[in-house]
């Protein structure tokens, strides 16, 4: 079976919203575009599973024909995103987000998405409908699309990106791809944790390979755990359906003793922290605290029930998102019955979004010429805590990254394919397949995932982080090199793919654990129980991890500030959270 060779101007890695929009952007710049979708076209990554919300300033939303909030301004929205991020945000990226969001929404409406409902600063639409609209537009403008295809590593020539080694998952064939520019849009790395809320393709290879290629990565310790994610029964585990009902309909959270454990917190924080998208940070923290104190549910969470919410209002508020209690293809009627009869569902925090990643400037260039990045795989605009929409992020990033990559590709001259580089990568990737005997990947991976969930969860401390780093180093040194697949067939070899992914997962976990250990303060979604104070005097810094021939080195650099100067001083974590909540402009909505 001959391996295929491919050539393009802009190679887009990732078939979620950021990938599609970047591919469209490259075509808009007049460049050829090849997009690799790791799974089924328009049905992989995190986008199809999203609710999905799109946030922008209320005045722009009003100008687009929705009620919105005419009294809102870009400045107010800027202030709110920055305070939600506890002042750690890259303010240039926040400006770009606010500036470009309205036109990204306008084009979605032109492309036919259906708005389910809207509020002051957001519209709600279907993640599936969004993907279908993007796929249609990508086909219309002539993007070359490959599905069930992933990228294993990047190749460079003369210090510039020259393409990468693709991989046909169905046949197990390598696809050397020559490209003048690459846009990394591979999303998050949910697969590093168990349980998680992500599709099974989200294993972060984009961040890992960009890092290996010399790009800077940062803020890896900021990981958003969605709260109230279903933990049991297994058929619904990982679903955010209860997260959505808790946000839209309310409800009651109790621990294993039947205590309404949120009652111990400041009522203002509880109110904002349950009715707004602040809840991911706050409730995940509060849940983790109960579980770590031994008051958790059998599967490591807490219990969600209706409490005193009247049935009628619960059903009314849920109906737009859950017609007949169907959420996408899941039939939640049985769960709804349980809740209506006064029962509870086991829910808890599960990793959902990654606030850090590949470092990009406001043109979405990385530090490697020709390499761009967009969407969740970047160190984006949300600082230490994302409240506003990642759907907006993927689209504002994707369009600009794609257009800039396309313009760059058209300017630079052609070069010969780096054949030797491709060959040596192919040899490396085949090791688990060719090794006669060894460790089972699945067993190693599950241990890694469960340990990560425990020790890199919403609540961290020095002891657990140090243990985690030691554990990961042992896996890297003694287990990963000894992994071997049982089947030696290249056809849809799940074990081979898992082995390839696991190396990247361990790399990113180690970067995150090192960063979390280094950050001796608490901010946003990073909480250190041994350093429970937010420190604006020393820690308005982005974490950085450098890759030096497989050795990871942690550092930091000042957060990028343009117009909003953060206040100095230190504050205990929950007090800082309250202050940030109180700093929000007087515009309504869930964000």
């Amino acid at each position: 079976m001959a391996d295929q060779n491919m050539q393009t101007d802009v190679l887009i890695v990732g078939g979620g919203g950021a990938g599609f929009r970047a591919a469209i952007g490259a075509r808009e710049a007049g460049a050829k575009a090849l997009m690799l979708s790791k799974g089924p076209l328009a049905r992989c990554g995190a986008t199809p599973m999203a609710g999905a919300d799109f946030t922008l300033d209320g005045r722009s939303l009003n100008k687009l024909g929705f009620p919105g909030a005419p009294e809102d301004t870009g400045e107010k929205f800027f202030n709110d995103i920055i305070t939600q991020g506890y002042y750690l945000n890259n303010q240039m990226l926040v400006e770009q987000y606010i500036r470009k969001a309205p036109q990204r929404l306008k084009e979605l409406l032109d492309w036919g998405i259906k708005v389910i409902f809207s509020e002051e600063r957001a519209i709600f639409t279907s993640g599936l409908g969004l993907m279908d609209a993007l796929l249609k537009q990508a086909r219309t403008v002539g993007v070359d699309l490959l599905e069930d295809t992933m990228l294993l590593d990047l190749v460079a020539h003369d210090g510039k990106i020259a393409g990468g080694l693709g991989f046909d998952i169905r046949t197990g064939e390598f696809i050397p791809i020559q490209a003048k520019a690459v846009v990394m849009a591979t999303g998050g790395w949910h697969k590093a944790f168990w349980p998680n809320t992500g599709m099974r393709d989200l294993s972060g290879e984009g961040i890992a390979m960009a890092h290996r290629a010399g790009a800077a990565i940062g803020n890896m310790e900021f990981i958003t755990f969605c709260c109230n994610v279903i933990l049991h029964p297994p058929v619904w585990r990982g679903s955010i359906a209860t997260y959505i009902t808790s946000l839209l309909c309310g409800g009651e959270l109790t621990n294993s003793r039947g205590e309404r454990f949120l009652d111990q917190y400041d009522p203002y924080v509880v109110e904002k922290g349950t009715t707004m998208e602040w809840n991911k940070g706050f409730i995940s923290y509060a849940t983790a605290k109960e579980v770590r104190q031994g008051k958790g549910s059998p599967h490591g969470g807490i219990f969600y029930g209706l409490g005193t919410i009247p049935l009628e209002s619960f059903e009314r508020n849920a109906a737009p998102i859950f017609p007949n209690w169907k959420y996408k293809a899941m039939d939640l009627a049985e769960m709804a019955e349980t809740l209506k009869n006064g029962g509870t569902v086991e829910v808890g925090p599960a990793v959902e979004y990654f606030d850090g990643g590949i470092v990009v400037n406001e043109k979405f260039e990385t530090s490697v010429p020709g390499l761009y990045a967009a969407g969740e795989c970047t160190l984006g605009p949300f600082g230490s805590n994302r409240v506003c929409s990642a759907i907006t992020e993927m689209l504002v990033h994707g369009a600009d990254a794609g257009q800039n990559a396309g313009a760059y590709a058209k300017k630079i001259g052609a070069f010969a394919p780096p054949v030797e580089a491709f060959k040596s990568l192919e040899e490396k990737e085949q090791v688990p397949l060719q090794k006669k005997e060894g460790l089972r990947v699945a067993e190693v991976r599950r241990r890694v995932q469960v340990t990560a969930h425990k020790q890199l969860g919403p609540i961290r401390n020095e002891k657990e982080l140090t243990e985690l780093i030691g554990f990961l180093e042992n896996v890297q040194k003694n287990e990963l090199p000894n992994v071997a697949t049982v089947s030696k067939s290249r056809i849809y070899n799940k074990e081979w793919i898992d082995a390839i992914e696991l190396e990247n997962v361990v790399h990113l976990l180690k970067a995150a654990a090192l960063s979390a250990l280094n950050r001796t303060e608490s901010r946003g979604v990073h909480y250190r129980e041994d350093y429970p104070v937010s420190d604006n005097d020393h820690w308005l810094q982005e974490s950085r991890v450098k890759w030096d021939n497989a050795f990871l080195k942690v550092g930091q650099c000042p957060a990028i500030i343009t117009s909003l100067t953060p206040p100095k001083g230190k504050m205990p974590f929950l007090e800082m959270m309250k202050t940030m909540m109180q700093s929000r402009s007087n515009i309504g909505g869930h964000h």
């Binding site: 076209l41 049905r43 069930d148 293809a329 699945a442 056809i491 799940k494």
Partner: protein, 110 residues
């Protein structure tokens, strides 16, 4: 607590290496509310890592529809079909099997 297990019979076929398909039966611990997908995950993780089912990009939540198969003779999604007892899992369609439970879908890739 009763420890119940179920017998899960799985269609196995690698057209690149074998002439004919065969079935393999695995003993899987029973958990109330378990899906066919969680049974396959158990088999892959604990018994037989050579088994192939659409998982590299599966959503496990009934959205991507790539785990479409046949469960006890009825077409459905592996991830959304709850197993109550012994089960037979087969690909759909059998005529376009890439490997085991992974089959080529209707639309050819671009």
């Amino acid at each position: 607590m009763q420890e119940k297990s179920i017998k899960v019979k799985v269609f196995r076929f690698d057209p690149s290496q074998e002439k004919e398909p065969n079935y393999q039966t695995y003993q899987v611990p029973f958990e109330k509310g378990m899906s066919a997908m969680s049974a396959l995950d158990y088999i892959y993780q604990n018994i037989d890592s050579t088994i192939a089912y659409y998982d590299h990009a599966g959503c496990d939540l009934g959205i991507c529809a790539r785990c479409t198969g046949v469960i006890n003779g009825k077409p459905g999604l592996f991830c959304q079909t709850i197993l109550e007892g012994d089960a037979t899992l087969e690909p759909l369609p059998k005529s376009r099997v890439i490997k085991d439970l992974v089959a080529k879908k209707g639309e050819e890739r671009n």
